[in-house]
């Protein structure tokens, strides 16, 4: 609503001063977020300067991480973070959207609301609990049943080669998927609920089956919202620390195989920051934090762009 303005500043109402104060106060709070972000970026850059000047661009392309020799490069962590988050999204998105569709379109509304509240309950579980479950229940199960089976039947593929350790990129991806499903589902559900009933009725009136109705009338309408939900999930997946650390195996290596252990950026920060052995070590960790921030920023920009391009297409269709 850009054109609505109240002229409280000039009118001699007794509340005018309060309004002005309120305006300044809210403005200050809004600005403070930007200021905090600015201070954070400044501080992180300053702290990572020793590492940036020492390793330069090699920090992004190299894969040696040795605190004893003080030689640091971050590619395995970058790889681990991006790959685990993207794979988790690929796994979680169809499941979440399908769950949301079931809740809003297919299930009886009593069953639907029950499933919805159960999903929201999942979202409230602290990540360390997921991690414990992952390391005590899921990883052994993967090691004993799933991974040997994969090796026996698909071992010729580079994605499933190697030994079954349990903790692995695969375990990390699965735990991340489980953790982001509730978020994507809950938001997608809200989006689908916002689809006007008239859309559905129109599709049914034209003789559409339920699936056709969902495909023609519901999903296109909610497309940008669902995309937003997926991006939020991706953001959470990239930043997730505790649960991933516990199941991913924490070995800084780049391997195509989903069965081999990997490492992520938040995990290495959480693991090593408290006991850094030198200034350069903590500086290198700080630089990883900076890279993580940049990656998150890039993800958000891509998300904005995607949502924008999808909405543009949508208005064309609707009009």
């Amino acid at each position: 609503m850009p054109h609505v303005t109240f002229k409280t500043d000039t009118e001699p109402f007794p509340g005018a001063a309060g309004d002005r104060r309120f305006k300044r106060l809210t403005g200050f709070f809004a600005l403070s977020i930007l200021i905090i972000l600015g201070i954070m970026i400044f501080q992180m850059t300053r702290e990572s300067l020793p590492s940036i000047t020492k390793f330069g661009f090699h920090f992004l392309t190299g894969s040696n991480w040795d605190a004893v020799q003080e030689d640091f490069a971050s590619l395995p962590y970058l790889y681990g973070s991006v790959v685990s988050a993207v794979l988790a999204i690929l796994l979680a998105t169809p499941l979440s959207v399908a769950t949301a569709l079931f809740i809003t379109e297919i299930a009886h509304h009593k069953v639907g609301s029950m499933v919805a509240s159960l999903v929201e309950l999942l979202a409230a579980i602290p990540s360390v609990i997921y991690g414990l479950w992952g390391v005590l229940v899921m990883a052994p199960w993967l090691q004993r049943t799933v991974q040997p089976w994969l090796i026996d039947h698909f071992g010729f593929l580079p994605f499933f080669s190697g030994a079954p350790y349990g903790v692995s990129m695969m375990a990390g991806v699965l735990i991340l998927a489980v953790m982001i499903i509730p978020i994507i589902t809950a938001i997608s559900r809200e989006v689908l609920l916002a689809v006007p009933q008239s859309q559905r009725e129109a599709a049914i009136a034209l003789g559409a089956t339920r699936w056709e109705m969902i495909r023609i009338a519901v999903l296109p309408y909610g497309r940008s919202g669902i995309l937003g939900a997926v991006i939020l999930g991706l953001g959470r997946a990239i930043g997730e620390t505790m649960a991933v650390t516990m199941v991913i195996g924490n070995a800084p290596q780049i391997s195509l195989s989903l069965l081999s252990p990997a490492y992520t950026m938040p995990s290495v920060i959480a693991n090593e920051f408290a006991e850094t052995t030198s200034k350069l070590h903590s500086s290198a960790l700080m630089e990883i934090g900076l890279i993580l921030l940049v990656v998150t920023l890039i993800v958000n920009v891509i998300a904005r762009f995607l949502v924008w391009s999808v909405t543009k297409g949508q208005t064309k269709e609707v009009v």
Partner: protein, 338 residues
């Protein structure tokens, strides 16, 4: 309204300040390993001297060193001793006060081998270097006659978080194997040649419990409490030693001849017959010249108490107490604090 709020805030600040000044608050931060013992000490000591209250945050040795150097705490705690450069960076003379000792045990999961697997220190290093890859390697079998070792690949598990436990363990490996010393070295976090990383003792132990044919290392106390199988290691004197409170204390007793006045000594691979080889001190870091003389006096009283009454609480909590010879030495050091 705003005025009311600020008045309330001011009142709140004054009130907390008033409460705090009723007793002396001594703040410390550092190592997580001795935290259970320290918190027991502080709560027991609070019953004896009600005028002083200790507040300890277990943020890790690295954090403890940073905070005591920056003087944001009254004492630090660390599982590793400070380097000469780190000591120089401190604004005053920092003393290392050893409190207790810890040991690191090698734990494993081999179905059919309950406990007491014998491992040569050289073999331990080669396993963690990735040079011994099978459990039925001749070098392991030779030390374990009658034990049925399977033809399975060894899965190595190490700590992924920086820790004093890793420091002691890699210090030990550097001492027994020159290849390890050259390629990997010692430190709170090192570049592991092989293996999986678990977070914390519980991460490593969880990994080993649930995965067959694994080997890893955890704190002695953690292994005992969780009844993990542990290996008997061959020490520098050539005898097989089981990890225990006694064999841990024995390592410090063996080192007394070479004990430097600042206690900055590694206790791994002591040449005594009964000394377990993977052992280390944990220290409190205190400035010799205390700015606040009242706090300093209270600190000395507490440290003296910890050397006598405190040491008796160590063994039941699975920390190795200081041997009598070291206690006598530390007593003198404490007296220099003023």
């Amino acid at each position: 309204m705003l005025r009311k709020i600020s008045a309330l805030l001011a009142a709140a600040v004054f009130m907390t300040a008033g409460v705090a000044s009723a007793e002396i608050l001594i703040n410390g931060a550092g190592a997580t390993f001795p935290y259970p013992l320290y918190s027991k000490w502080f709560s027991e000591y609070a019953k004896i001297d009600t005028s002083v209250k200790f507040n300890y945050q277990s943020i890790g040795s690295g954090g403890g060193i940073k905070q005591i150097t920056a003087q944001t705490v009254d004492f630090g705690a660390s599982d590793k001793f400070l380097s000469d450069e780190e000591l120089k960076a401190a604004p005053g003379k920092l003393l290392h006060i050893p409190t207790v000792m810890g040991a690191v045990v090698v734990t494993y999961n081999i179905p059919g081998v309950a406990k007491g697997l014998k491992l040569n220190s050289e073999d331990v290093a080669n396993i963690f270097l990735g040079k011994i890859t099978k459990w039925n390697d001749k070098r392991i079998v030779d030390d374990n006659p009658g034990v049925n070792l399977p033809d399975k690949a060894i899965i190595v598990v190490h700590r992924s978080d920086g820790s004093g436990t890793t420091s002691i363990f890699t210090d030990y490996l550097s001492g027994v194997n020159s290849d390890w010393a050259k390629k990997v070295g010692k430190g709170a976090s090192v570049k592991w040649p092989v293996g999986l990383g678990g977070k914390g003792n519980e991460g490593v132990a969880g990994q080993i419990k649930t995965t067959q044919y694994t080997i890893g290392y955890v704190e002695l106390a953690y292994a005992f409490e969780n009844k993990l199988p542990y290996a008997t290691l061959k020490n520098k004197a050539g005898s097989w030693v089981e990890p225990s409170i006694q064999t841990t204390s024995a390592a410090a007793a063996a080192a007394i001849k070479n004990m430097p006045a600042d206690y900055r000594i590694s206790l791994v691979n002591q040449p005594a017959k009964d000394a377990y080889p993977v052992v280390g001190f944990t220290w409190l870091l205190v400035y010799q010249d205390q700015k606040d003389k009242v706090k300093g006096k209270k600190m000395v009283e507490f440290l003296t108490w910890s050397l006598h009454k405190g040491q008796k609480m160590a063994a039941p909590m699975l920390y190795a107490p200081l041997p009598e010879s070291v206690v006598k030495m530390v007593e003198k050091t404490i007296k220099t604090i003023n």
